[in-house]
Structures are given as structure tokens and as C-alpha cells.
Symmetry: C2
Subunit: 205 residues, 2 copies
């Protein structure tokens, strides 16, 4: 069994999709242990609590590893550790320190609303529209010390329509994010992801 | 009718696909007027000649606009002008000068073997494999003064497989390049492309 911790900062729509998928057994062998927010008022906290998952706010002025070691401590208190833990970032708007990343190397996933390496960072959908791409999508990747630069686990594409706005594009991508994230968590839980350098391969069952 | 000039440097596989599509009326209202190479031994030259298209080599040590004005002169001699000309780059391995681009603004197309803005420049497929993306593809774009930075007309995706090599990936992308380029030339010839800033829209028929 994999013990899952989810880090959020806002509404946690990917968090909600993951928790529902676990509830409905669309994700197997994964137990959601804790949802942690760096913002006290993140609406996702209430949703998680309603779904019966422990929640915790880590809100203070510490920086870098000073802050992250409190997160790690909460994760460990909830059995999310280096042996059988998985940490999913779901709209977590904080840069994670190298110490945290190295401690949980290969066990932190993030989803990003573009086909990385195109449009990393904030407002990826707006960046994509302004660039004028005809195809965008989303990426699930392992987190490394860069911003949205870690090894890619999976990607899904969507077509950008001429009439798309940031909102319509974001909504369509978000639906794909939910499905893709669930797929990737399952693969992780089944032990089917192997990483060679930057390339993540999927082992067949 | 659109008068087409194609610039090549090598085998001209996209050139061949375009010329065949015109022959088979898969591209309409476009007359191939001339194929120009900057390399005397480009194998594409013979292919073009066999298909009954005029060919020309512009091979000398001139640089930038000094060189390009010879290209422009050849194009004009073959009726490829700013009124009803279209210039397609097909593996043309030379940077085009701003003067040439401005003269034929919105009339020069290129195809690139990645989902731009990811992996511009040389060896795009190798770059994609080394990055570890799960999706790549190709892009047809108008040429501007940057390298592979012009407004995007269309993009197609292909999945990157775990066992892909640079060669297998390049081959699959190339098949998509052929089809996409043909589609875009048709849209151009039908007057269906309108550009607003960086966004290229397709007008319905």
C-alpha cells in the first residue's frame, strides 16, 4: 500500500479528483493520509475534511528547508515516508527546497497545465494562448529542483480552438489533468514507473 | 492561383510530398514554379526536375541579404512575388535575412519536427527524446526573424514510445509533417489564414 500526502494552496481540484478516484476504487492500493496546505483558507481543506481525510495547515514565515521540514514532519506523522509514501502536488504554489526533494526523490509528482517543456511556471494556459499554439495539454512529472523541469511521466494533448479564452482552455486542460494524474498515481502504486536519466518508462503489467 | 517556390538544402522529402500532392490535385490552385537549393548536390533537385519543376542552385559565399536578394531575384523570375507567391521552406538549412522575410511577410512557411515552442533549432527529435517528453509532433509556422519562432499555422501530435530512437521518432513525425504541410498550403491558397498578432486563425469556407 502507498501512503499518499497531497499538498495544496487553493481549491484543490486535482486533489478532489484524486480523492474521489480513490473512493471509487479507480485508484487502487493507495491510502490518502493527509492533505497539507500552505494557506489557511485554501477551500480544498474543507473538501478533504468532508471526504474524511486528515488536513493540516503549515502557515508561517519560515523559508526553504526550514519550512519544508515542518511539512516533512507532518507527512511522516501520517505515515507518508520514503519507504512507501507518495506526495502529490495539486496546485501547490510554493517552490520546494532541494532538501525536501532529495529526501523524497522519485516520490513527488506534480501536474502542470501545458506540454512541458513549453510554458513552465505560472499562467501556462495564458502563455500558450499568447504564443498561439494549436495544441496544448498537461504533463505529470516527477518534481526536481527546477520549476516544472523534472522527468515526465505522462502527457495528454488538447487542441486549442480559435475562440479559446484562458478560461475555456484552462477548463478543458483541467479535465485532462484529473484523468492523467489518476492514471499516473495508479502506475506509481503498481510499481510500473522506471526512470533512466530523464526518461520515465512504463513497465507492462 | 498561387505561385509556389520551394527552398531546400537536402533530400527535400517535404518538397516531394508537396509536389506529389499538387500533381494528384490534393493541393489545389497552387502552381509549383521553382525549387531553389543552397547546396549544389541536394538530392531534392533531381527529384524536382524529374517532376517537371524548374530548379536553381544559388551557391556562393554571399551572406544575409546579399545572398537572399539572389534568391528573391530567382523567385521573381519564376513569378513567385509578393502578390500571389508562396515560399515553402523544406529542410532549408539557412537562416533567412530580415529583409527577405519582410519582403514576403506572411508568405513564407516552414515545417519543424517538434511542437514549438518546445525544441526549436537543430535535432529537434533528439532534443525531445533526451528531454523525455511523451508527446511530440510537428509545427507549420510562418517564418519570422527568429529561429522557429513565427506564428503557428497548425500542429500535429504523435506519441513518443519508450523504445523510440531518433530515427523511428523522426520517421513517424515526418509522415505527419507531409500531411500537415499539404493541409496548410491548401488553407493558404484558399485565403483562409488570418493572423492577429501571434495567433493564426482559420476561416471557415
Amino acid at each position: 500500500m502507498i501512503n499518499l500526502g497531497i499538498l495544496i494552496s487553493g481549491r484543490g481540484s486535482n486533489m478532489e479528483a484524486i480523492l474521489r478516484a480513490i473512493e471509487m476504487s479507480k485508484i487502487k492500493d493507495v491510502v490518502p493520509r493527509v492533505v497539507i496546505s500552505n494557506k489557511p483558507n485554501a477551500p480544498g481543506l474543507q473538501k478533504a475534511a468532508k471526504m474524511g481525510v486528515s488536513t493540516k495547515v503549515v502557515y508561517n514565515s519560515a523559508r526553504g528547508w526550514e519550512y519544508d521540514k515542518e511539512i516533512v514532519s507532518v507527512l511522516r506523522d501520517h505515515l507518508v515516508n520514503q519507504q512507501n509514501g507518495l506526495i502529490c502536488l495539486a496546485g501547490y504554489m510554493r517552490i520546494i527546497s532541494p532538501e525536501f526533494i532529495n529526501l523524497f526523490k522519485g516520490r513527488i509528482l506534480n501536474v502542470h497545465p501545458s506540454l512541458l517543456p513549453a510554458f513552465p511556471g505560472l499562467h501556462a494556459q495564458k502563455q500558450a494562448l499568447e504564443y498561439g499554439v494549436k495544441v496544448s495539454g498537461c504533463t505529470v512529472h516527477f518534481v526536481d529542483v527546477g520549476v516544472d523541469t523534472g522527468p515526465i511521466v505522462a502527457q495528454r494533448t488538447i487542441e486549442v480552438e480559435d475562440h479559446d479564452t484562458e478560461e475555456t482552455l484552462s477548463n478543458r486542460i483541467l479535465m485532462q489533468e484529473h484523468e492523467l494524474y489518476i492514471e499516473c498515481i495508479n502506475r506509481f502504486a503498481q510499481g510500473r514507473l522506471s526512470t533512466l536519466g530523464r526518461r520515465v518508462c512504463i513497465k507492462s503489467c
